[in-house]
C-alpha cells in the first residue's frame, strides 16, 4: 500500500515535471526572444563604392556600407517586402485623382551634425533625383517622369504633384537609393555627397579604409526610439568568393547581404552546422549583354541580333546555376514575379528559343549578311567582381566563339568599368540590372532611350520604345498594361536587339543564426540595419 502511494506520488511528480517542461518548451518556441541591444555586426561587401552618392549610383556596393547613414522619405519594410512603411514621412495622403501626394514630415529628426531636418531637405534631395541640375548625374531621373513638381509648403509638409497618376508611385518613391541629404550642403555643392557622408540614419560614419572596410557607429540622437539595436557595424570589402566563404565560416563576418553561389552556401553550412541558417529567394537582378549601338559593327541590328541568337540561355542556366547564383531564364520582368513573361512567349524571342542549332545558323547568316568576317575580334568589357560577372564573361566568350567570332574579355575595377560604359568606351559590355521592386516602371526604365536615361549604356534612341514605356506606366488596366510590356520586351530584346538579358539570379544567403531581425527578399538593396540585432 505504502509502495503504491509512493508510486502514485512519483507518477504525479513526473507528470508535473513533464507538464512544466512542456510548458517551458511551448513558451520558448512560441515567443521569440526580445531583440538584444549591443554588439557590432561585421558583414561582407564584395565591391567598393564607386562614389558615396546613391542618387547617381546603382550598385549594392554603395547601399550595403553607406545606406545605414541615411533615411528615406518612405521605405520598403525589410522584413515584409513589398510593404511600404513610413521613414522620415510620418504619414501621407493621396488625392482622389491620384495626382497629389502630401507627406507629413517627422519633427525632431536630426542630422549627424546636430542640425534639424525639415521639409526643405527632403525637397532638395528629391529635386536632385528628379530634376538634377546641370552636371549632376541622377540614375533614376527617368523613373520619375510622371512627377510635375516637389514643394515644401511648410517645414513639416512635402507635396509631390504628378502629371499623370501612377499606381505604384509610392513604391517608386521608396527606392532605397533615394537618400535624404541636407539642403544647405546641396545648395553649396550638389556633388558634395559623392565624396562625403552626412545623413539622419541610425548609424554615423566612422571611417572608410579603401580596400579594407567601412565602419559606422550608432547615432545616439536617432529619431526612432530604441533603434538601432547594434552599437555599430563594419562592412568588410572582400571580393573573392572563397575568401568570403572563409570569412563567414570563421566568424570574421556574419553575413553577406547580396548572395552566395550554391557551392559557397554548402561550404558554409557544412562547416558551421547548427550555427548557420540559409535564406533563399528569387532575385530582382540579372545580367545584361550590352552591345554599343553607336559603334561599328554593333550599330547594325543584324550583328546585335546574331549575338543574342548565339547564346544558349537554357543550357547556360543549367550549367551556370551549379557554379554561380545565376539561373532563371527570363525576359524584362523577373521570372517567378507577378509580371513574368510566360515561357511560351519568351521562347519566341530571339536568343530565348529552345532550338539552339537553328538559332546559331541564323546568327552566322546574319553576321555574313552584315559583312562581319569570320574570327572578327571585339572586346567584352566586364567588372572584376568574381560572382557572377567573370563566369558570365567566360560563358559569353565561349558562346560567341561558336558562331565564328573572337571576343576578348577585358576585366576592370567597378569604377573604371562604369566610367567606360558611361562614356561609351566599349564594344560589348556585361551590365546588370538590379531593382528594388517588381514593377514594369522600375524594370523597363533601364531600356528607354539613352538620352532619357543615363543608365542605359547601350547608346540608342528609340522614341517608339519611350512611348511604350510611358503608355504602360499610365495604363491602369493590368491586362492591357501587360500587353504593352510584352510589346516593349519584344522590341528591346528581339526585334531591335538593342541589349538583352543573359540570365536572372537566384538569391542565396547563408548567415550565422545569431544574426536576427533580417529577412531575405527579392531585392538586396533594402537592408538598412535598423532592425537587425545579435542574439549573442
Amino acid at each position: 500500500m505504502h509502495a503504491r502511494r509512493r508510486l502514485q506520488q512519483l507518477g504525479a511528480a513526473a507528470l508535473l515535471v513533464a507538464a512544466l517542461v512542456a510548458a517551458s518548451g511551448t513558451v520558448s518556441s512560441s515567443a521569440p526572444a526580445p531583440p538584444r541591444r549591443g554588439g557590432s555586426l561585421s558583414f561582407i561587401v564584395s565591391a567598393e563604392p564607386p562614389s558615396f552618392d546613391a542618387h547617381r549610383e546603382t550598385t549594392f556596393a554603395v547601399i550595403h556600407p553607406i545606406r545605414p547613414h541615411y533615411n528615406l522619405l518612405v521605405k520598403f519594410d525589410p522584413l515584409n517586402y513589398p510593404k511600404v512603411v513610413p521613414d522620415l514621412a510620418e504619414s501621407w495622403t493621396v488625392s482622389e485623382d491620384g495626382l497629389t501626394y502630401t507627406f507629413r514630415i517627422r519633427s525632431g529628426v536630426r542630422f549627424h551634425d546636430g542640425s534639424l531636418l525639415t521639409s526643405r531637405d527632403i525637397k532638395a534631395s528629391l529635386d536632385k533625383i528628379i530634376f538634377p541640375p546641370q552636371g549632376v548625374a541622377s540614375a533614376r531621373q527617368a523613373m520619375y517622369e510622371m512627377v510635375e513638381s516637389v514643394s515644401a509648403p511648410s517645414p513639416n509638409t512635402v507635396v509631390i504633384r504628378l502629371k499623370w497618376p501612377s499606381a505604384t508611385f509610392l513604391e517608386k518613391l521608396a527606392s532605397p537609393f533615394n537618400w535624404i541629404y541636407k539642403a544647405d550642403i546641396l545648395e553649396r555643392d550638389p556633388r558634395w555627397y559623392e565624396r562625403n557622408v552626412m545623413g539622419t540614419g541610425p548609424f554615423r560614419f566612422k571611417e572608410y579604409v579603401r580596400g579594407s572596410h567601412w565602419e559606422g557607429v550608432r547615432f545616439e540622437n536617432y529619431w526612432k526610439p530604441g533603434r538601432p539595436y547594434l552599437d555599430g557595424y563594419r562592412a568588410l570589402f572582400i571580393s573573392s568568393p572563397a575568401a568570403q566563404a572563409a570569412a563567414l565560416k570563421f566568424g570574421q563576418a556574419l553575413v553577406e547581404f547580396r548572395g552566395f553561389a550554391p557551392a559557397q552556401r554548402d561550404e558554409v553550412v557544412q562547416f558551421l552546422g547548427e550555427r548557420a541558417t540559409v535564406q533563399e529567394s528569387g532575385w530582382l537582378c540579372n545580367l545584361l549583354v550590352v552591345p554599343n549601338n553607336q559603334r561599328k559593327p554593333f550599330d547594325d541590328f543584324r550583328v546585335r541580333r546574331a549575338l543574342t541568337l548565339a547564346i544558349d540561355r537554357w543550357g547556360g542556366s543549367r550549367a551556370l546555376s551549379q557554379i554561380t547564383f545565376m539561373g532563371p531564364v527570363g525576359g524584362v520582368m523577373r521570372p517567378g514575379g507577378p509580371f513574368a513573361t510566360p515561357e511560351a512567349e519568351l521562347t519566341k524571342l530571339a536568343g530565348f528559343g529552345r532550338d539552339l542549332n537553328a538559332a546559331r545558323q541564323e546568327a552566322r547568316r546574319l553576321l555574313r549578311e552584315a559583312g562581319v568576317p569570320e574570327g572578327f575580334e571585339f572586346t567584352v568589357k566586364n567588372r572584376n567582381i568574381p560572382m557572377p560577372y567573370i563566369p558570365a564573361g567566360i560563358f559569353l566568350v565561349d558562346q560567341w566563339r561558336q558562331v565564328g567570332l573572337n571576343p576578348r574579355h577585358v576585366i576592370q575595377e567597378t569604377g573604371p568599368y562604369l566610367a567606360d560604359l558611361r562614356a561609351g568606351n566599349y564594344d560589348v559590355g556585361v551590365d546588370f540590372t538590379c531593382d528594388f521592386f517588381d514593377d514594369p516602371d522600375v524594370q523597363l526604365v533601364k531600356f528607354v532611350s539613352s538620352d532619357r536615361n543615363p543608365l542605359n549604356y547601350a547608346r540608342y534612341t528609340d522614341r517608339l520604345l519611350d512611348g511604350l514605356f510611358r503608355q504602360q506606366s499610365r495604363e491602369r488596366n493590368l491586362q492591357r498594361r501587360l500587353q504593352i510590356v510584352r510589346q516593349f520586351e519584344r522590341r528591346v530584346l528581339s526585334d531591335r536587339a538593342y541589349q538583352y538579358h543573359l540570365l536572372w539570379w537566384q538569391r542565396i544567403i547563408p548567415h550565422w543564426k545569431k544574426l536576427q531581425g533580417y529577412k531575405v527578399g527579392p531585392s538586396h538593396y533594402l537592408e538598412d540595419l535598423e532592425e537587425v540585432w545579435l542574439s549573442e
Binding site: A319, N384, G393, F395, D398, I411
Partner: protein, 298 residues
Amino acid sequence: MTGPPDALPARVWLAAARPRTGGRLMRFARRYPLAVAGGGFLVLLVLAAVLAPWIAPYDPLANDYLSMFSPPSSRHWLGTDSFGRDILSRLIFGARTALLVGLSASVAGATVGALVGVASAYFGGAVDLVIQRITDILVSFPLIVLAMAMVAILGSGTANLVVAIALSFAPRAELVVRSSALQVRHTTYVEAARAIGAGPWRIILRHMLPNVLAPYLVMLTAFLGQAILLEASLSFLGLGVAEPTPAWGLMLSGAAVDFVQKAPWMAVFPGLAITLTVLAFNVLGDALRDALDPRLRV
C-alpha cells in the same frame, strides 16, 4: 673553361673558345645532371608551347557543360574545370602565356637593367649617384609589390604585364651588372679604346657590355623563373591576364579555389606546372652561375 683575359676583347675570347663548345657542354652535363634535367623539361615546355594547337587534345577555351568537374580519366587526362574545359589543353596553351610573359619580361628587364648598369658604371659621378639612389628606392620594394604597383598604373593585360614585370626586374639587374661593369671599366682594353678616341656608347656597347654577359645570363635564367611566378601570382590576384585566356596562375585562382574540395585537380596540375617550371629555371640558372662565374670554379 676560362673567362676572358683582361687584355682581350670578348669577341676575340669567344671566337677562341668556340671549338671547345661541344666538350664543354658534355662536361657541363656530367657535372650538373639536375640542370640537364631542368633544361630538358624546359625544352619540352617550349615544344609544347610552340606545338600547342596541334598537340592539345581540346580547344582550351571551349566550355563543355556535360563534362564539368570531370576527374582525370582517359577522356580528359588531367580532368576538367568548372566550365568543363580540358585542364591538359589549358596547361599546354598556358605554357605559351607563361613563356611569352616570362621570356619577354626577363629579357627586357635584364637588358634594360644591364644597359643602365653599365652606363652608370662607365659614367660614374653624378650620373652614377642619381641612378643608384633611384635603384635603391626601387629595390627596397618587394618584387611582387612593385609589379602590382606597375600593373595598377598600367592596367592589366598581357602587354602591360610584361612591361610591369620587366620594370620590376630592371633595377635588380642594374645593380648586379653595374658591380661587374665597375671591374671592367678599368681594364686595359677599355682604357685603350678610350685612348684611341672611341665614344662612350661605343665603349659601353662594344667593349663593356659583352664582358658582363656572364652575370647577365645567370640573372636572365633566374629572372625567367621569377617572371613566370610573378605572372602566375599577378594572374592569381586578378591583376594579370584575364579569363578565359589559359594561364597557369589564373587556372589556380577563382573556381580552382572555390571548388578545391570538390575538384582538387583544378588546382593541383597548374600548381605542379608552375612549380616544375620555376624549379627547372632555378636549377639551370644555378648551374649556369657555377659554370660561368670563375670565382666559383674549383
